[in-house]
Structures are given as C-alpha cells and as structure tokens.
C-alpha cells in the first residue's frame, strides 16, 4: 500500500549515437524512493507514440527501437500521481530521475473519502472540510468548530467565541494557524482566537494532547488550521464569497487568488472584510454588539519533492463591541442584572462600535524550509514571528474617555525544526526541537494598574514520535516530549494586596523596589514539563476503525493565572492570580470506534481525563471599595475528573435523503471539593435532515435541530453582602439558564457562469423560530438573551 515511487532509469543505447539512430534501447527500473524496493505494475508511456509498457515484478521495463532525441515519458502507478519526465536519448546515456511523491499524498489516497491526512494515528480526531468552512465564512472559527461533536465554545456575546474541546478551553487548546502556534493572549475568557476563518482549506481538531509535535500542553486539544493544498501545475484560480445577513444588518466579503506553476512555484493571496452593526435578540436590540474585521493572508514559495520553502504573512485586525449592558459598576448592579431579566441599556440599532470594546491586531510572518534526503527522510526548519496588540476600551470619564484601559503588546519569536525518518514502510520516526522567546509589554499610558504585567518568557522543547505500521490493519504510535518554560516578570503589587495574598514572607526575595503603596517585584519561575502518548489504531477493513490512546500532558501556568491582580473593568470583577500556582498534569484515555454500513454509519468516542492541580477561576466572594462591592474571582488548583462521550451517526436511507446526528456529553468534577466543575458544557444533541437533488443545479436543503440541555451540574452559588440592599444575598452567579432548542434551515444551488466559473448561492436561516434563549457558556447570559433569527444570503464564485 505504501509505495513511495521513485524511479531510476538506466538508459542505454546500442551502437554509436548518431542523429536519427532509431535502434536504441531504453531500459529502466521503477523503485520505491525510500527503500529501493522495485515497484511492479507501473505503466510507462512514451508520449506522442503508441508505445507503452508495464513494469515487471523486478520493477524493470524495456523499450526497443527508440530514436535518439528528446522524449517525454509518462509514468503512472496506482498509488501515485502521474509523472512526466523528459529524457534525451543520445548514444550511451545514463540518467537518474527523482520523482515527486509524498508520504502525505499517498496517505490521502489511502483514506477513502477523507481528503485530509490525520495528525495522529490513535487519538480522537475530526476535520471540517472546505464546504463547512465556507458555510461559516460569515462567522468566526469558533462557531464553525462547534460542528464537531465534543467541541463547544465559551462566548462573550456573539463576537468573541473561544473554542472549548471536551470541556476545556483557553491555554489548554492550542491553535496552529498554517503551521504557526497562535500566541495571542489566549488566557483571557474574553479573548477570541485572532484569526479569520476565510482562507483556510481544512480545520482538524485533535481532542487531546496526543499531537505532541505541536506542543505538550494541549490538555484540551489541538486545532490545526491548514491552507488549501498547492497543486503543482500551471494554473490560476480564485474564489470570492459574499455573505449578507439580517441580524447585524451587514455581512462580509472574502476573495482569494492562487497562481501555481508546474515548476513548483506558487503564490496566493486572500483578503476579507467583515462589518456588522448591533445584533438583535428576539425582543430587543443588543446594544453595542457590532464588529469590524479585516484579514489578509499572503503566501509565496516553491514546493518540489526533494526540497521547498514557503514564506507566509498574515494580518488580522478586529474591532469588537461588547454589549453595553454587560458593563456594570459593582455587585449590586450585577444583582440587578441577574434579577432584571432584560438588559439595562437598550438603544436603537446602530453600526457604531463604542466602549466597552476591544481592538486587536495580529501579525504573523513565517518562513519554512524543507529538504528531503533520499533513503532517509525529511528535514523541516521554521521560524515565525508574531505580534499581537490588544486594546480594551472601557467606559471612562474625563480626559481618559478615549484611552484604552488595557494596552498589551505580545511579541513572539519561534524557531522550530524537526526531522522525520520515513524511509521504512514499517515505521516512521520524528524528532523535533523548539525554541521560543516572548515579550509582553503592558503600556502604563492607560492610567490603569496593569492586570497583566510586563514579562519575558523562554520556552525550549524537544520531542520524539514513532509510528509503527505493524501490518495492513494495525498501527501503533508513541511519543515523548519535554518542555522547559521560564517566565521573568516585572510586576507591581499594591502593598495591601501583597499582604492579603500572604506573599510577604514566602516571596520577600522577589521585591525589587518599595514605592510606598506599591511594590515592584521580579518573579522568575521555571517549569519542567513532560508529556507522552501511546496508542494504536486497528482497521480490520475499510469500513471500520478502532483507536485507543493514552496521553499525558503538563501545562505551565499562564501569566494571567500567576499574576492577575486587580479589577478587570470590562468584566466588573476582581481577578486574583497566585504566584504559587504550579503546572497542571493531565492523564487522558480516549477510545474511538467508527463503523460504516451500506446505508448508515456511526462513531462513538468515550474518554476520561484526570487532571491533577487543574487551574480554575471561580467566584469566591466580594471585596469592598468606595464604589461598592465587587465579585472576586480567584484562581485555584484542584484535582479534577472529566468524563464524556461524543457520538455521531449518519444515514443515507434514500438517494436523495440523508440524516446526520450528534450527541455530546461531558461531566466535570472537582474531586478535592466533591462538587461540579465550573463552565462545563451542557449535554447537546443535534440532528440534521438533508434533501439533495444534484440534477437541479446541485440543489440541497438542510434542516438542523440543535437541542442544548440545561446544565444541572454546577458549583454552588455564593452568598455576599449587598451594600445596596444592606443585607446578605445569594448571588446566582453559577446558576445555568434553561434548556433550549434551535432550528436552522439552509438551501443551496450552483450554476455555471462565464465558462469555467461556478456560482453557488445559498440562503440560510438560523434560529428560525426566533426563540428566546440564554447559553450557559456565554458570559453575557446574566445580561441579555442570545441572538434572535438571522437570515443570510451567500454568493460564492469560483473562477
């Protein structure tokens, strides 16, 4: 199955070589590139002639009576792409030719119906294809990922959507954007991934830490966003997508253009723009929820079989309005909002993006070079640079009205290299190393005490992964990884906070300067993290697949878990980190079984994840200030257990009809406290019915039902003293909202236009019945209902 064709031609001619000598003999042998085993059954064709032959069991072939001169050969093998080579017959000629075949490309052929190769062999993994990505072209990446069973999201309104895998989000979910690990302050609950969904070719989710090549700290999982594959032929093609939607009264446009050459050169560019005004709940306008986004991607490179390079630059800028009513002054305001049932501020619809709002700009530049060594493997080197600038504007008075309350600039340099020994068809071995330097600058010009301090961070990592292809049906994989992290921060503490945290004896040596009410400290912490994975895949036949994986992962605390200290204005809560927080360790076992029958199929993926020293942020009480009392959210470590199952199924009971079903359940428990874990997604159940009639211009209509159960397991609420009411009140800050059911409908058709072009139109309606609902994993659930009905029109033009 895994034949990596490499062809060696032994060319010989009989007699003396003079022009128009048509008695030469062409001899050749087709062999595997890696292990030199002869390839049988390859077809060799001399173009422009009827001459053709097939290689024998020794891989050899022979043509007789060939004229001297230039010839073109086409070589075709069932496992490989057709190849053309030009040779010059001139007397005694010997020629050695390398052909372009990848291990990756061959695996694509192997996985029937799955265009994207898997990132791991044994972990639970699912991929969103281009069709789904295009369907979500007007949304965020987090919205699209919810299509995958077991993936939910932690939202702040509808603009900020953080993906959550098997109940875990933030720093535990690693996002790989075209080979670059996103470094964009993923720690904050109201920080969305800074990337545009447009311009990606596929998005894979590995549910767990098994993809060690990307990092050892992905306790939740890894999201791998890949660009579309480069086809090596002379071609110019492009695509434009236009979305218009009623809810938000706006839309987006995205265009991309690619130019590829037979010689391996390629260049492509993509740009998108999105603009929406205030969104609307069924009963009212969600004031200040507009968005403006710009995304640009540029790629250029040369990809040959034995070497290649690629340079990439991407830019993303987002201005996100945050629901006006979610900006509250103190705990009494919060009580009012929770009990009020309706937002405190409802203004007429506008496109304006006012405070509170965020403005984030992200640049990525990367350079990747690879070289393949014959009979050995492939070497990859990559450098990437990232710059992330984040402004958070709060509602402020006086001269500071237009000054950001948070102004952070995060700069990251990463150097990574790996070598993959794939010469043997029985096993592959990958070894890699990584070095990263990161600098965070918190601008003091905000006039607000820094929530996140200035810091420098150094990471070094190394990994070794092995895959063993034991036989046709059985694959084993295993890997180990070590990561060293050092964080060196310069942090100001209020003297009263330093004492309240109990740092004065334990961390006295960190104090650099005493400024009266504030202390300047220099915390320097080192973390040593080990991760590992082992698992197997068993495929008894083409229609069934069984995977079992164990993954050990360790994650060092992020800067917000260590250093957060102070009032987070946009959240109206005091967030307190702890310098004592250590790395968390996860042990996850996941099992995945899938089976396809004639007219239906299913997959079931149960898992259990034990995390010791799990770091969580939860409401713990209130602190009193002159403005009243503020809820205090404190980081704490505990031992937890997450158990869940994802179930998906499909039926194709009729040529024109199909159904899809998915069910996800996860239960999170704080073992030390014997209580439910905070922010665990409720049980969700989705069903889709599709009618397809290809002869009517590819007509397709889908009706989707999504039912979210109420989360019945949540940590206890807190009792606080309300200065407004002058009494103790129960703050229902953890109580989840009721269950809800949403219906979505969409229809599409495709038409041929301007010769080669194709126009696809689709109309869709989300929340068709305009249902009022609130989502447990939306941080704005205290203040307003979620989105009402949205009707959108999409035009897609491929050219």
């Amino acid at each position: 199955m895994k034949k990596f064709a490499f062809m060696l031609f032994l060319l010989s001619t009989a007699g003396n070589g003079f022009a128009q000598n048509c008695e030469s003999i062409l001899l050749g042998q087709v062999v595997d590139f890696h292990d030199n085993t002869p390839l049988e059954g390859a077809t060799i064709l001399i173009t422009g002639t009827p001459l053709t032959t097939i290689t024998k069991s020794d891989g050899k072939f022979r043509f007789e009576g060939i004229c001297d001169g230039v010839l073109e050969l086409e070589i075709f093998h069932p496992d490989c792409k057709s190849q053309f080579i030009t040779i010059t017959m001139k007397g005694d000629t010997f020629k050695k030719v390398s052909l372009e075949h990848h291990l990756e490309e061959l695996q694509e052929v192997k996985v029937v119906g799955d265009l994207v190769k898997k990132e791991t062999n044994s972990a639970s993994e699912q991929t969103l294809n281009l069709n789904t990505i295009e369907r979500f072209s007007g949304k965020s990446i987090g919205d699209a990922l919810r299509e995958i069973a077991g993936v939910s999201s932690l939202n702040t309104g509808s603009n900020i959507v953080k993906p959550s895998i098997h109940g875990l989000n933030g720093s535990r979910v690693l996002i790989l954007n075209d080979g670059v690990r996103m470094q964009d302050m993923e720690w904050g609950e109201e920080h969305a991934p800074n990337m545009d969904i447009n311009g990606s070719g596929s998005i894979s989710v590995i549910k767990g830490a098994a993809a060690l090549q990307y990092g050892g700290d992905a306790i939740g999982g890894v999201i791998v966003v890949s660009p579309q594959k480069i086809i090596k032929k002379d071609s110019l093609f492009g695509k434009s997508l236009l979305n218009a939607m009623t809810n938000g009264r706006g839309g987006n446009i995205s265009s991309e253009l690619s130019k590829t050459y037979e010689s391996g050169w390629f260049a492509n560019g993509q740009a998108s723009f999105k603009r929406l005004g205030d969104r609307e709940a069924p009963d009212y306008v969600l004031s200040n929820t507009g968005v403006k986004e710009i995304g640009i991607k540029l790629n250029v490179g040369k990809q040959l079989f034995d070497w290649g390079w690629k340079a990439n630059y991407s830019f993303f800028d987002a201005e996100l309005a945050i629901l006006r009513a979610s900006h509250i002054g103190n705990v009494d305001d919060l009580i009012r909002s929770i009990n009020g049932g309706q937002p405190e501020v409802i203004d007429p619809f506008t496109y304006d993006i006012d405070a509170p709002r965020q403005e984030v700009t992200h640049h990525i530049a990367s350079l990747n070079v690879y070289k393949r060594f014959q009979g050995l493997g492939k070497w990859n080197v990559q450098y990437d640079f990232q710059n992330n600038r984040r402004f958070e504007y709060d509602i402020r008075v006086g001269d500071d009205r237009n000054t950001a309350a948070i102004d952070l600039e995060l700069t990251t340099h990463t150097f990574a290299t790996d070598f993959k020994w794939d010469a043997s068809s029985k096993r592959t071995l990958t070894m890699g190393l990584l070095a990263r330097f990161q600098n965070n600058f918190a601008n003091p010009a905000t006039g607000v005490r820094r929530l996140i301090p200035d810091y420098e961070k150094f990471d070094f990592g190394g990994f070794l992964i092995a895959d063993f292809y034991l036989n046709e049906n059985f694959t084993l994989d295993a890997g180990v990884r070590y990561d060293f992290n050092r964080v060196d921060a310069q942090k100001f503490y209020l003297e009263s906070r330093w004492v309240e945290r109990g740092y004065e004896t334990e961390f006295e040596s960190l104090i650099v300067d005493d400024l009266g009410t504030q202390l300047l400290t220099n915390p320097k912490f080192d973390y040593h993290n080990f991760s590992g994975t082992v698992g197997f895949q068993y495929e008894p036949n083409n229609s069934s697949n069984f995977r079992l994986n164990y993954a050990l992962a360790q994650r060092a605390p992020n800067p917000s878990e260590l250093f957060s200290d102070g009032l987070h204005h946009s959240a109206a809560r005091i967030e307190l980190g702890d310098l004592r927080i250590s790395s968390e360790t996860s042990h996850k076992v996941s099992l995945s079984q899938s089976k396809d029958f004639d007219s239906w199929g299913y997959s079931v993926e149960p898992y259990v994840n034990f995390i010791s020293d799990f770091i969580l942020l939860e409401p713990t009480g209130v602190e009193f200030t002159i403005r009243g009392a503020f809820p205090v959210w404190t980081y704490r470590q505990t031992d937890t257990r997450l158990i869940g199952v994802d179930f998906t199924a499909y039926t194709e009971f009729h040529t024109n009809w199909k159904t899809n079903h998915s069910f996800s359940l996860v239960k999170g428990k704080d073992i030390s406290k014997d209580q439910a874990l905070i922010q665990i997604p409720p049980v969700s159940f989705g069903n889709t019915l599709t009618y397809m009639k290809p002869e009517w211009n590819g007509f397709e209509i889908r009706l989707e039902s999504r039912y979210a159960f109420r989360q019945n397991e949540f940590p206890p609420n807190i009792t606080i003293f309300s200065p407004g009411l002058q009494e103790e009140v129960l703050l229902e800050i953890n109580t989840p909202p009721e269950a809800y059911h949403l219906l979505n409908l969409d229809a599409q058709m495709a038409f041929s236009v301007f010769g080669n072009g194709k126009l696809t139109t689709s109309v869709s309606a989300e929340n068709l019945l305009n249902t009022n609902y609130r989502n447990y994993l939306n941080r704005q659930r205290y203040f307003a209902d979620d989105l009402g009905r949205n009707i959108s029109l999409q035009l897609k033009l491929n050219y």
């Binding site: 103190n330 008075v397 820094r450 100001f492 650099v512 009193f624 002159i626």
Partner: protein
C-alpha cells in the same frame, strides 16, 4: 547502509547546531524597570459636609486608600445630628493616591449631565432635596439639603451614578447607569 547512517548523524548534528545558535539570539535581556501606574480615576475619598445655623457642622467620610485593593473603605461620622433641622450638604470627592490629592468633584461638575448622586435616607433622616442643576436643569446632588426628623437612629445611602437616565424619579432603579460610589452612613439624631 553506512551512507545512510552518516547522513542521519549529519542531519542530527545540523539540527543541534541550528537550535543552539538560536538560543543565543533569543536571549537579549533588557531589565529596565517598568513605570508604575498611579490610577487617575480612582475616587478614594468622599467627604460629605452638613452645616446648619446654630448646629455643629458634621462630616461624613468614606476613605479607601488602596482603591480597588483588598482593604475595605473606612467610614467615619464626626458627630450626631440635631433633630428637626435642615442642613446644607456638600459632597467632595478626592483621589488621595496622588499627592497633592486630586479633586474629582470638579470632573463630576464638568460632566454634570452624565452624573447624579442618588440619596436613600431612612429612619430619623426625614428627607433630602437637590439644590443644584446640570446644564439641562436636572439635579446633580453635589449640593443638597438634608432635613432631620425626630431624635433616633437613621441612615443615609449615597450613590453616585455615571451615565444615569436623566431626568429620573430619584431612585436607583429609575436612574440606572453605573455606580461610581456607593456608601451607607449610619447616623444618630439627637434633640
């Protein structure tokens, strides 16, 4: 086979050379201490002065010198009020984290149409009346009058709302907006 091993060793060597050279590049150190931030908008102190002819002036103070820090505000009342008396009241807001202390009252006055003090009297504090106006003729509450009832105990809740609905009915629910200050003073009224 020998060739295979050599190439492998070479590639590992190159790998290590590259990674270790990048370590040196990455480790530039700049240890300039960052500038401290002294918050400008913090209101640490509210002084309420109550004066009446023939009665001792009374000062109510709420002071929280660590701002949003863990320490709760200290509340003090300088003395008892006299029954059945109308006091003229003034509110002063200060940021005492700066030296000299910054007068925040001026900022509130400048943006009077976006601010309002809401008063919640109870017990022996009979009533409060606004004696000032913003540019639109709506009350602000920096100046007010307080009238005491019979001797006994009472309380006065003072809330400063930012961007309230104006005009409003003088209640917290009617005013809406965000709370900049919320304090309650427990008072004693004597004959």
């Amino acid at each position: 086979m020998k060739n295979y091993k050599n190439t492998m060793q070479k590639s590992i060597l190159v790998l290590f050379v590259l990674i270790s050279s990048s370590l040196f590049v990455g480790c530039s150190d700049d240890d300039d201490p960052p500038a401290p931030v002294n918050e400008e908008e913090v209101i640490t102190t509210m002084n309420v002065t109550l004066t009446a002819a023939g009665a001792t002036a009374i000062t109510l103070q709420s002071q929280d010198l660590d701002g949003d820090g863990p320490n709760a505000p200290t509340i003090s009342v300088s003395g008892d009020l006299t029954a059945s008396t109308t006091y003229a009241g003034t509110i002063e807001l200060l940021n005492e984290t700066e030296s000299p202390a910054e007068d925040i009252t001026e900022e509130v006055e400048a943006e009077a149409d976006e601010h309002q003090f809401i008063f919640g009297p109870s017990g022996s504090i009979a009533s409060i009346a606004y004696t000032d106006e913003d540019g639109n003729g709506n009350p602000v509450g920096i100046n007010f009058t307080l009238t005491t009832g019979d001797a006994g105990t009472g309380s006065l809740q003072i809330t400063l709302r930012h961007e309230p609905t104006k005009p409003n009915d003088g209640t917290l629910a009617g005013a809406g907006g965000e709370t900049d200050i919320a304090q309650t003073f427990n008072l004693t009224v004597v004959q």
